[in-house]
Symmetry: C2
Subunit: 417 residues, 2 copies
C-alpha cells in the first residue's frame, strides 16, 4: 500500500519550495526535462512495450491499446509539449488588483499556485508529462494516479522527470506517482483533503462521475460534451453545412465535437438535403424527429428521447426541429452538458440572444465548436475543459491552475467596530 500521508507530506513540503522558484528556473527545468525524455526514449519505450504486451494478453480493446502505445514520435510530441510550456509567460506573482482602503491599508491581490494538485487519469501516458508541465510551470506540486494499464510507462516517465529535478537541484517531490493501482488507494487518495487542494480527473465519463461522487477534495469536472449546432431561420445555409461537417467529422472522439443539430422549421426543407449530401461521404448516421424524417425519409432514422442526451463520440448526429429561437435555446439548455454550443445565423439580434441565454462554457456564433481548446484560445497549453462553473469554466490553461492571496500592508491599523 502506498502511504498516501507520506506522499501528502512530501507534496506539502515541495509546494513551499516550488512557489519560491523564479520563472527562469522553472523554464530551464522544463526544457531540461524535455531533453531527458528524448535522450531516454528507449527506456520509456521498453516499459511501454511491457504495458502493451500485458494489455494484449488481457484482451484489451485495440482502441485502448492505441491510446496506451508510445512511439518515438509520440515521445517527441511529449517533449515538444514541455518545451512549449517552458516558453509561456509565468503568471505566478502577477498583481491582479491593488487598492487602498480609507484607513490607509493597502490591499494587493496576487496570483499564487493552488498548492498541491491531484490528477486521476486513465491509460494515456502522455498525460503524465502534460500534467507535470502545467503544474510545475504554475508552481504546484502534482500527485498523479494513472491507470493500471499504463503503470510501467508512467513509472519510467516519472523517474526521468524526478531525476531531472534532482539534477537541477530541486525537490523531486514536485511530481509523485501513486504506484499502487488498486481501487482502495484511489478511494483514499480522493479523501486526502489535508494535503491536496484540488483534484482533476481526466478521462471518460465514468471516471469523472466516480471522482465527483467519491472525492471530498474540491474537484474540477472536465470533459463531457454534448455540443449542439443550431441552424437559425436566418442562417447562411452553406456556412451552416460547413460548420456542422467540421464540428461533427473533423475528429469524432473529442468533447468539443458536435453531437446534435437543432434546425429551425422554416429552413429544414432547404437545409436538411444540403446537409445530408455534405455528410454522405463520411457516412454519418442521422437520427431525427418526425419533421426531419419527412424531408429525409431514407437518410434518417427516428431519434429517441435518449438520443438528445447522448454524447456519441461517433459518426452519429441527432437532429431536432424547432419553431423558434426560444425553443432552440430551451432544448439546448435542457440537454447540453454546458460545454460548447453554436448558433449559425446572419441575424444579429438572434445571435446576441443565443449568446446571452444559452448556458455553456463557450457559446459560438458562426464558428465550429471544435475551437473550444486551450491552444485554439491562445492559452498555450491545456489541462482540460471545465464543464463546471466553480473556479474555471471552459479551456483551462496555466492561469486556471492558480489561486490568489490578499497581501495587506499597513502601519498599525486596528478595527474599531
Amino acid at each position: 500500500m502506498a502511504d498516501l500521508n507520506v506522499m501528502g507530506q512530501r507534496a506539502e513540503a515541495a509546494k513551499y519550495e516550488l512557489q519560491r522558484l523564479s520563472a527562469e528556473e522553472k523554464s530551464r527545468t522544463l526544457r531540461r526535462a524535455a531533453g531527458r525524455l528524448l535522450e531516454r526514449a528507449e527506456e520509456i519505450l521498453l516499459a511501454n512495450g511491457e504495458d502493451i504486451a500485458n494489455g494484449e494478453k488481457n484482451g484489451m480493446h485495440p482502441g485502448m491499446i492505441d491510446r496506451l502505445r508510445l512511439t518515438e514520435k509520440r515521445i517527441a510530441a511529449m517533449a515538444e509539449g514541455l518545451e512549449q510550456i517552458a516558453e509561456l509567460p509565468d503568471c505566478i506573482g502577477e498583481v491582479m488588483e491593488r487598492f487602498v482602503r480609507p484607513n490607509g491599508m493597502e490591499i494587493e491581490k496576487v496570483r499564487v499556485p493552488l498548492g498541491v494538485i491531484g490528477i486521476i487519469y486513465e491509460s494515456r501516458p502522455n498525460v503524465t508529462t502534460d500534467a507535470f508541465g502545467l503544474c510545475f510551470k504554475t508552481g504546484n506540486a502534482a500527485i498523479l494516479k494513472g491507470g493500471s494499464d499504463a503503470i510501467r510507462s508512467n513509472i519510467a516517465i516519472v523517474n526521468i522527470l524526478r531525476e531531472t529535478l534532482r539534477e537541477e537541484g530541486m525537490t523531486q517531490d514536485a511530481i509523485q506517482l501513486i504506484e499502487d493501482v488498486d481501487r482502495q488507494t484511489a478511494a483514499e487518495f480522493m479523501r486526502l483533503n489535508r494535503y491536496v487542494d484540488v483534484l482533476i480527473p481526466r478521462g471518460g465519463a465514468g471516471l469523472i462521475r466516480s471522482v465527483v461522487q467519491n472525492s471530498t477534495i474540491p474537484v474540477i469536472e472536465t470533459g463531457t460534451g454534448n455540443c449542439h449546432v443550431y441552424v437559425d431561420k436566418d442562417a447562411d445555409l452553406n456556412m451552416a453545412a460547413e460548420i456542422i461537417y467540421n464540428a461533427k467529422t473533423q475528429r469524432i472522439g473529442v468533447c468539443n465535437a458536435c453531437e446534435s443539430l437543432v434546425v429551425h422549421s422554416a429552413v429544414r426543407e432547404k437545409f436538411l438535403p444540403l446537409l445530408s449530401q455534405k455528410l454522405k461521404p463520411r457516412k454519418v448516421e442521422l437520427r431525427g424527429d418526425e419533421r426531419v424524417r419527412e424531408i429525409l425519409p431514407d437518410e434518417c432514422v427516428p431519434a429517441s428521447e435518449e438520443d438528445y442526451g447522448t454524447e456519441y463520440l461517433d459518426y452519429i448526429l441527432s437532429i431536432k426541429t424547432v419553431d423558434s429561437l426560444e425553443e432552440a435555446i430551451a432544448h439546448i439548455n435542457r440537454y447540453n452538458t454546458k460545454h460548447s454550443e453554436c448558433i449559425v445565423t446572419e441575424n444579429q439580434e438572434a445571435a446576441e440572444k443565443f449568446l446571452r441565454e444559452v448556458d455553456a462554457a463557450c457559446v459560438y456564433v458562426n464558428v465550429s465548436t471544435r475551437f473550444t481548446d486551450g491552444f485554439e484560445f491562445g492559452f498555450g497549453a491545456e489541462i482540460g475543459i471545465s464543464t463546471q462553473k466553480l473556479h474555471a469554466r471552459g479551456p483551462m490553461g496555466p492561469r486556471e491552475l492558480t489561486s490568489y492571496k490578499y497581501l495587506i500592508r499597513g502601519n498599525g491599523q486596528v478595527r474599531e467596530l
Copy 2:
C-alpha cells in the same frame, strides 16, 4: 419529505429568468423586500417567538438562544443589509477580457451568475435575508436549508421575500426554503448535483466538515480561522501589543480573531510583560511554551501541542517562541487554517518574505487580522470567508458568487487540425 427534485427544477427555471434581469430591476426588488421586512416585522417576531419558546423548552444554550433571537432592531439591520446590496454596482454582464485570434474569431469572457446556489446554515435567521440579497443581486437562484431551531422564523422571512418577488412580477423561486429539517433531507440536498451549481455552508466547524465530507456538489469551505500574529525581532512592540489586543479581544467569537501569538526570542523579554499588562483588563488566558513561561511564570499556563491547532473563539491566546522568521513561517504554515496571518515588523525584507511564504487567504503586515471581512475590504457585502483555494479565497462579496462564459463571434471559422 420535501421533493428536492421539484425544488431543483423550479430553481433551474428561475435561474434563466434571473440572468435576464436588469441591474435596475434587481435593485428595485431588493429595496422593496427591505421595505416589506420592516412593514411585516410583527409577523417575523411572532414566528421567531415560537422558535425561541421551543428552544427554551428544549434547554437550548443561552448563547444559541441569542443567535436565534430577532428584535425590531435586528430586523431593521436585515432590511438595511438588503438596501446596501441594492446600492452596489451590478457585476453581471461585465466583459472581463476580449481578444481576437489569428483566424479572426473574437472571444469575449463575460461575467455570468453561477446559476443555483445552495446554502446550508445554522440558527441565525438573518443569514436568510443576507443570502437571498447576495444571490439575487448576482442573478443566482438560492435554495436555503436553515437549522431546525429557526424554521418558523425562516418560513416567515422567506414567505415575505417570495411575496415581494410576486408583487414585482418576478419568479418566486429565486428563493426557496427547504422546510424539512431532518438529516435525510440535508444529505439528499448535498447530492443534488443535477440542479445545484455550488453549496456554501455557513456555521461552525462541525457543519462545515459535514458538508465537505458528504456533498458531491462543489463546496466553498468557509470560516474556520486559527489566525496568528507574529511579533518579529524588528517589531514596534507597542504597535504589536495594540494589534494583538485588537485582534484577540475586540470580538472573540469571529473567524478573523487572533488565536495564537508567535514571538521572536530576541524580543520576548521586553514584549511579553508589555502584552500581559495590556491584556490583563480583558482577562485573557495565556498558554505558552517554556520560554514564554520563564518570562511570565505566574501569568501563563503551559501550552500543549493541541493548543497550537485550536481556534478558541474565547479569551484564550496560545503563545509560541521562535528563533527566526523562517521558524515562525514554518510554525504558522503548519498550524494555520489558511485564513488570516499577520507579521508585526519594521523590517521590510522580513515583511516581504512573510507575505510571500505564509500560505493564507490574507497576509498582513502591521495590521490587525480583524480586517478580513467583505465590508472592510470594500466589497459592500459578504457571504463568508473562503479558506479554500479553488474559485474564491478570503472575503467573498458579490463578484465571488459569479462565474464566466466565453462568447465567440465569427464568420464561418472551421478547424483544420
